[in-house]
């Protein structure tokens, strides 16, 4: 486990050693503020909740998180450091986990820095803090799902731009799974079971049910198993394609 910790430390340090961390955090905070107060109309609604704030998270994550995950493996391949990493006494699983956790902790930090929004709503009215806390947790889980997709895709290429675009597209499909835009592609030819399976994997659906303040274990299980499945695919991709 010390190897996972070492990789987590290094990757997290890498975000802050380059401008990536600061650019990401600033853009994330500015955009979530703009979306919440202008597009979401937080003041106009006259309700002391953070619904407008969380509603936009899936869309913010859609292009911000692939930017965070695209370098995880693609950079190692490009620089040749993957040969160094994979000849150190660590398992592929430890490396995959370490990198994923580093990116996840980083999004956690960015998410935590949105606390002024929470302070604002508590100042303005009698906010439902347990629901807000749960929504934060749901948002963090969803970010993990995006990251798991991005990390896995990053393991398939040495080109970060390709990793970004492909991750974006896959995440987009999962955000909108269950909506006509995605479902129409499958309608008519795919078996009903597959269609049901796809529509049940919508990020939006699971996230919204958490932000309503309902703890449904199916939502938690969905996100955790989604992350686990993509990380497993990530490990397999690294193991089989590390030298390409």
């Amino acid at each position: 486990m010390s190897a996972t910790g070492a990789i987590l430390r290094r990757e997290l340090g890498n975000y802050f050693a380059t401008p990536v961390a600061y650019v990401f955090i600033v853009i994330f905070l500015v955009l979530s503020g703009v979306f919440t107060f202008y597009l979401g109309g937080l003041y106009e609604r006259g309700q002391a909740d953070l619904q407008p704030f969380f509603t936009f998270h899936p869309w913010l994550y859609l292009f911000l998180i692939p930017a965070l995950s695209m370098r995880l493996w693609a950079e190692e391949r490009k620089a040749g450091t993957i040969e160094l990493l994979m000849t150190l006494p660590i398992s592929v699983g430890e490396a995959v986990l370490g990198k994923f956790l580093a990116a996840w902790v980083f999004t956690g930090i960015a998410l935590a820095l949105t606390f002024p929004v929470w302070l604002t709503i508590n100042y303005l009215g009698d906010a439902d803090n347990p629901v807000i806390l749960l929504s934060y947790f749901g948002s963090f889980l969803m970010a993990g799902a995006y990251l798991a997709v991005g990390a896995c895709v990053s393991a398939f290429t040495r080109n970060q731009v390709i990793a970004f675009v492909i991750s974006f597209v896959i995440c987009f499909i999962f955000v909108l799974a269950g909506f006509p835009m995605v479902m129409d592609v499958f309608q008519g030819w795919a078996p009903q079971a597959l269609i049901n399976a796809i529509s049940s994997m919508s990020f939006l659906g699971h996230f919204e049910s958490i932000t309503r303040g309902v703890i449904d274990f199916r939502d938690l299980i969905f996100f955790f198993s989604f992350i686990a499945a993509w990380l497993l695919a990530n490990a397999i991709a690294v193991e089989t394609r590390k030298s390409d």
Partner: protein
């Protein structure tokens, strides 16, 4: 396997190794051993399969066929145990460029499971050995090629591994740096098994106890560098430089000596090379003749052999097997 057998097993043992990339065979039925206390030079033209073989030994690539045992562990069955015992300098010495040398080495020490105090000691020792002193706090991306290579070297020796595998450790270094790295390798050789790949032939003569040559994925030579030199056509040849022109009778007289195969005139006037039959030692006879005939000469010396000539002869002997497609 008995205890005694484990003790005497070679540090690196490669058995009938083969690696295919699609239709291309990069390594073909290669077997060799490296023992503790030995520096083995791994020679071959670019693309011969040296790096591929090293990547399999260090567990980065999986062999198509064959077995590799390192420190008594099978690389495919217990890769982690093997990786713990190997220090590896990959080709081009890749490192995390955005980190400083200290931070990078500290990361390596962490991954290798050392606690805080051990890490400090190990990193300091590695920096000292690799002579990194002045640059440890600069990001690796700003370092010169020579320093980058030394950071890679420090990384490989950080855990004082019993086995070192280094892919072209002196590539891109200036003559002084090359000398330093060779000194370091020689110093460490006493209690380690060291495998280095190179295409610099003097290096083999300078630091290796044994050399293997590989070309087109096939092992072609496995013996001492001295033996390699002995295969040279000019091994034990006697070179003579006369004060003036070569005496008219010289060629005929020399040819008449026992065990002389040929006499070749040098490009510049007054130079002559006497080639022996099958590497026989003819220097006594030649000097005797020079004295008897009273030829006035500037210098006379015995050629030990030319590695590049042998290397060329060995590595161009086998052509790629028909049907192989370059990737």
């Amino acid at each position: 396997m008995t205890r005694a057998a484990i003790k005497t097993e070679a540090a690196i043992k490669v058995i009938s190794l083969r690696k295919d990339f699609g239709a291309f065979t990069a390594v073909r039925d290669v077997s060799f051993e490296v023992r503790t206390g030995e520096v083995l030079g791994f020679l071959g033209p670019n693309g011969a399969g040296k790096s591929t073989t090293m990547k399999m030994i260090t567990g980065f690539l999986i062999p198509t066929r064959g077995r590799i045992r390192v420190a008594g562990f099978d690389v495919s069955r217990q890769p982690i145990e093997v990786k713990r015992r190997i220090g590896y300098l990959p080709e081009g010495a890749p490192a995390y460029d955005d980190m400083t040398a200290t931070a990078f080495l500290d990361f390596i020490a962490r991954v290798r499971g050392y606690n805080r105090r051990e890490r400090r000691e190990r990193v300091a020792a590695a920096i000292n050995k690799a002579n990194l002193g002045s640059v440890v706090h600069k990001p690796i991306e700003t370092l010169s090629k020579g320093f980058k290579r030394r950071v890679g070297l420090a990384q490989a020796i950080l855990h004082d591994p019993p086995i070192l595998v280094m892919d072209e450790p002196t590539d891109g270094l200036d003559p002084n740096q090359k000398h330093e790295v060779r000194e370091l390798i020689r110093e460490m050789a006493r209690n380690k098994a060291i495998l280095i790949s190179t295409h610099i032939l003097e290096e083999v003569d300078a630091i290796c106890d044994r050399a293997i040559i590989i070309a087109h994925g096939t092992l072609l030579f496995d013996d001492t560098p001295q033996q390699l030199l002995a295969m040279s056509t000019v091994h034990n040849a006697v070179k003579i430089r006369f004060e003036d022109e070569v005496p008219a009778a010289a060629e005929a007289c020399l040819r008449r000596l026992d065990e002389v195969a040929d006499v070749i005139f040098g490009i510049s006037a007054g130079h002559l090379t006497v080639l022996p039959d099958g590497g026989a030692s003819i220097v006594r006879r030649v000097t005797q003749l020079v004295r008897d005939e009273g030829w006035r000469i500037e210098e006379i010396y015995v050629e030990s052999g030319q590695l590049d000539e042998v290397f060329r002869r060995i590595t161009t002997r086998t052509e790629p097997v028909p049907g192989d497609i370059e990737p």
